[in-house]
Symmetry: D2
Subunit: 136 residues, 4 copies
Amino acid sequence: MTDHVTSMLKTYPKDLGGVDKEKLAACIAACFECAQTCTACADACLSEDMVAELAKCIRTNLDCADICATTGKILSRHTRYDANLTRTVLEACRTACQACADECNKHADMHEHCRICAEACRRCEQACADLIASLG
Amino acid sequence: MTDHVTSMLKTYPKDLGGVDKEKLAACIAACFECAQTCTACADACLSEDMVAELAKCIRTNLDCADICATTGKILSRHTRYDANLTRTVLEACRTACQACADECNKHADMHEHCRICAEACRRCEQACADLIASLG
Amino acid sequence: MTDHVTSMLKTYPKDLGGVDKEKLAACIAACFECAQTCTACADACLSEDMVAELAKCIRTNLDCADICATTGKILSRHTRYDANLTRTVLEACRTACQACADECNKHADMHEHCRICAEACRRCEQACADLIASLG
Amino acid sequence: MTDHVTSMLKTYPKDLGGVDKEKLAACIAACFECAQTCTACADACLSEDMVAELAKCIRTNLDCADICATTGKILSRHTRYDANLTRTVLEACRTACQACADECNKHADMHEHCRICAEACRRCEQACADLIASLG
């Protein structure tokens, strides 16, 4: 998805400031992909026979999907950029991705959807951390 | 909207822990109301003849609407509560509401939608701050 | 919540066309309230000991919450109104609310959150139907 | 993004029914990509000097982003699939994508973001139409 994001980023009509465009595009793509993966993982957990043992995983997936979708949208806006807001939203997203990766990882051996979802959350967590670091 | 939120809060089948139920319900309601108000204010700004001067206001409204909707949903979930995530999401929401209230306030004399929206953002900012404080 | 919605509706700077303002405000408020209630009901179901029997209810709640939130936002925008889009979105929302009310109703005797949620879905379904009818 | 979606689709623990998995994965990916592109296009329009002439484009972009995100999430859930709801949501999404593609296309010669966005909307409109057709 990074290619789609990058092609739009290049068309922004004003100056993007000192932002690292590669890290920004990677983070936006990771957020949207993680939102989709967490939505699908919550639903796959819901269809497992042992759903009662996956309640925490479903809850964490739903939160992570919501905050990733919001972060992906906020990062897709560049008009009158607010560094303070960007940073706190990225921190919330990183926290949610870390919690979801940790939780999904516990079920990764048993459920392939949790294994793939943990990877998507880890990638998004790292992309948020990289973007935060580049903001200076 | 607080009555609706409270009536659902009372039906939660497990222990809600030590959370202040009144502050939680007030914050959930404020988040959903602020999400609606910011969505409407962005659209009202877009229909103003002087829309070019309201670009920052529209952008701030859209971000605030997104993060308020996500915060309202995350706070509506109580299963396997994660204090760490709740706190960072509330901080992001408070930051967005403060930025949007400040921006809308600049246009409050000229645009009634900005005046009402600044009030909704201020209420939500305060509700987030109150809930954060009660989390200890 | 209808009061908040109505107060913003009155500030819209351009002509709202022939839309029934009362039905529009009622539908927007019902959508946001239903989105909150369905989010809370999905989470309450997830905490029930018999969660495995509530998988369909959770799924229906999540879909209904998503489509209600989107419908509430689209209805909150009046700039360059598109009757065709409004109608199809309202139809999708009515369908989701009907499905969720039907499903929650099956568990209403046993779970108070499902009883309250079925009522919220029924109100939103009716508000969508009323608004569609008023569109002519 | 289709690869990510497909890898999750393969892990779903129950039967997916007679759905065309390729068309489903393509539609989910198109919905998330279109949601991102429309969000970015609305913001790029907002930064154009001639923003007043792009008000309809911004509004259409915001609606399309919302309904695409919701459709992408609903299609990512397979538990207790509801053909009736899926169909009406896909119809709403197709309608929004068509409206947004038509509007963006009017500005495609002048604004590269509108040209790229029109293409993303057209792809998503087609993916929705293909999936609807495959539902029989």
